[in-house]
């Protein structure tokens, strides 16, 4: 191992570094939840591999029909499509969980603020990639969403308008999905790069090891393997028995050039869709999404605690925020009251803009 590592490291520095991770010392007794980024990386690998197969057979000019062909005609195609679908669902679940955990322990503060910003970038990338995947299905919901978005984009002017024009290419037409497929793949590759960067940054931001140190191999390798195996179990459960969980039936209908009254998004996009839907006009929706992600990004500056450990009130508020986001998704998917999304969205912004600075300042005092 030693000799091999030296041999590799002297020829391929990057790979030598990967081997070095196996010997890296760590503090003892770290919770399994710290393995989430590694699991997320494994899911991204599944998504890339299955995506590579799907891209070979996918035809953006006949999106719906080509996916039907992959399901019905390509040997094992239905399984690969399900890998992609279930992989996307679980990747979002793990990323949301990871972000929540960082919020709860205030892991976004210096010196880990750079890692936090990278995790938020990963969220933005995955949301955009996930939305593109939703659109690329060629279903009714995806097409309506694309139609609304590109319509709104044509009303933007100046730099945002130019970016939107470059991205969407104006009104949706035959070649729009071909263009979006390129972005879907490119952004997915970017996500891999960002997750590697975020992991490196998070590793650098760890406190100096004091006292007893245990090696990664075999102590944490065994933990990671157990976590990976449990994730695979969850994956198999969804794959076999609920492949379309949280996807709705709307996108199974082929797109027609007719708008649907309300779009049902996959579960991982619903909280954001609900938040956006509160604001008037589709341009308002776009800016609401940008604002929500920007707020997360600005969290290291909104927190005024200056290194104090998270207090009880802060933790309670963070749990409330998680419930708020879950409820926002739930009540967007199955609306029950007229004012509920508005209230939940208000709480989301109120939490970050008012409560976070206030409570952290009070707890630090």
């Amino acid at each position: 191992m030693e000799a091999k590592q030296g041999w590799l490291a002297s020829r391929v520095p990057g790979l030598g570094c990967v081997c070095g991770l196996m010997k890296e010392g760590r503090a003892p007794g770290v919770c399994w939840i710290a393995a989430l980024p590694a699991l997320l990386g494994a899911l991204l690998a599944v998504l890339l591999a299955s995506g590579a197969v799907i891209t070979v057979y996918y035809n953006p000019w006949h999106a719906y029909a080509s996916l039907q062909g992959i399901t019905r005609e390509v040997r094992g195609g239905w399984l690969v499509l399900s890998y992609h679908q279930v992989g996307a669902s679980l990747a979002f679940a793990l990323l949301y969980l990871h972000l929540f955990r960082i919020l709860l322990v205030r892991g976004y503060r210096a010196p880990a603020e750079f890692a936090w910003m990278l995790w938020v970038k990963l969220l933005a990338l995955l949301l955009l990639t996930g939305w593109l995947g939703f659109v690329l299905n060629g279903g009714e919901g995806g097409y309506s969403s694309l139609f609304n978005t590109s319509n709104a984009a044509t009303t933007l002017s100046g730099f945002p308008g130019a970016v939107a024009m470059w991205f969407l290419g104006g009104q949706p037409g035959g070649s729009t999905l071909a263009r979006l497929l390129v972005f879907h793949v490119l952004l997915a590759l970017c996500a891999v790069w960002v997750i590697l960067m975020a992991r490196a940054a998070a590793r650098k931001a760890r406190p100096m090891l004091q006292g007893r140190v245990v090696p990664f191999w075999p102590v944490y390798a065994a933990q990671y393997f157990a976590a990976l195996s449990a994730l695979a179990l969850l994956f198999a459960l969804l794959l076999g028995f609920a492949p379309h969980w949280g996807q709705g039936t709307q996108n199974a209908i082929p797109a027609a050039a007719m708008a649907v009254p309300s779009i049902s998004y996959p579960w991982y996009l619903t909280p954001l869709a609900g938040l956006a839907g509160v604001f008037p006009s589709v341009t308002g929706h776009i800016w609401a999404v940008v604002a929500a992600v920007a707020l997360l990004y600005a969290l290291p500056w909104l927190d005024r605690s200056k290194g104090a450990p998270p207090g009880r009130v802060y933790k309670l508020l963070t749990w409330l925020l998680a419930l708020d986001v879950l409820a926002l998704g739930l009540f967007t998917a199955c609306p029950i009251g007229p004012m509920l999304p508005e209230l939940l969205t208000f709480w989301f912004f109120f939490h970050f803009l008012v409560l976070t600075p206030l409570v952290t300042m009070m707890e630090a005092a």
Binding site: R72, F225, A226, S229, L233, L237, L239, A252
Partner: protein, 235 residues
């Protein structure tokens, strides 16, 4: 009209081989394809195809399917060739096993177009049961509901009225396996057939999923025990 006339003959020819009677799955209603361990009931799906071909196909296409795909329901290659040969395409030629299901002539039901049924079970909330409830949900409109012109009352359809007429009736087809072709039986059979058409891999998916779950459940137990052992020694 020709299709109506030939439908019983066609169904009889199709199902000559299968002699088993269907067990009673109508009261209470159950579908073999339902649930985590569900699989397609091939006999019911074969009967359901006869219903589709004899009744539904005059207005609804199933463009994503080929006649050769029916082999997955247990039809032999000769039977499939026979089924295809009995279908006359729009240009007058007979279909082959590699042809897509015949597209019916466009029908306009007072502005509504009959939807393609290839993936209908995946496209409707409630899936299989919705199809059954819809096909058996026609009836006289209750008091207080005024039907639009050209519409029929259907308790299962969102909004309660639909352009499609009540097409299923007792003995609309003759089942070759001797099953009594009641209206409810036909509805249940065609619902099972459409479930297969929407998700031809349903049975395989459940089989693969079950094996994978068992494997990873054991692997997870072993991995957790190993981790604990290592942590006791080193941690």
């Amino acid at each position: 009209m020709m299709r109506r006339f030939f439908a019983p003959l066609l169904a009889a020819g199709l199902l000559a081989g299968a002699a088993a009677h269907a067990e009673d799955t109508l009261s209470p209603l159950k579908f073999q394809s339902e649930g985590a361990f569900g699989s397609i009931d091939l006999a019911a799906a074969q009967r359901g195809f006869a219903v589709y071909q004899g009744v539904c196909a005059s207005c609804h296409g199933m463009g994503a399917l080929h006649y050769r795909d029916l082999q997955a329901l247990g039809f032999t290659a000769e039977q499939v060739a026979g089924i295809a040969a009995s279908v006359k395409l729009a240009d007058g030629s007979a279909a082959t096993p590699d042809s897509h299901f015949k597209e019916p002539a466009p029908v306009n039901m007072g502005g509504a177009t009959p939807p393609d049924l290839s993936s209908i079970v995946a496209q409707r909330p409630g899936g299989t049961r919705y199809i059954y409830n819809f096909l058996t949900g026609f009836g006289p409109a209750p008091a207080g509901i005024t039907l639009l012109p050209g519409h029929n009352y259907n308790a299962a359809f969102p909004g309660g009225q639909v352009s499609m007429p009540d097409v299923l009736r007792d003995n609309a087809v003759t089942y070759a396996d001797g099953t009594k072709a009641t209206k409810a039986q036909e509805a249940a059979d065609v619902a099972e057939f459409l479930t297969w058409a929407s998700d031809p891999n349903l049975s395989a998916r459940h089989a693969v999923g079950l094996r994978a779950v068992i494997f990873f459940a054991f692997l997870t137990i072993v991995a957790v025990l190993t981790k604990r052992r290592i942590w006791r020694q080193e941690g």
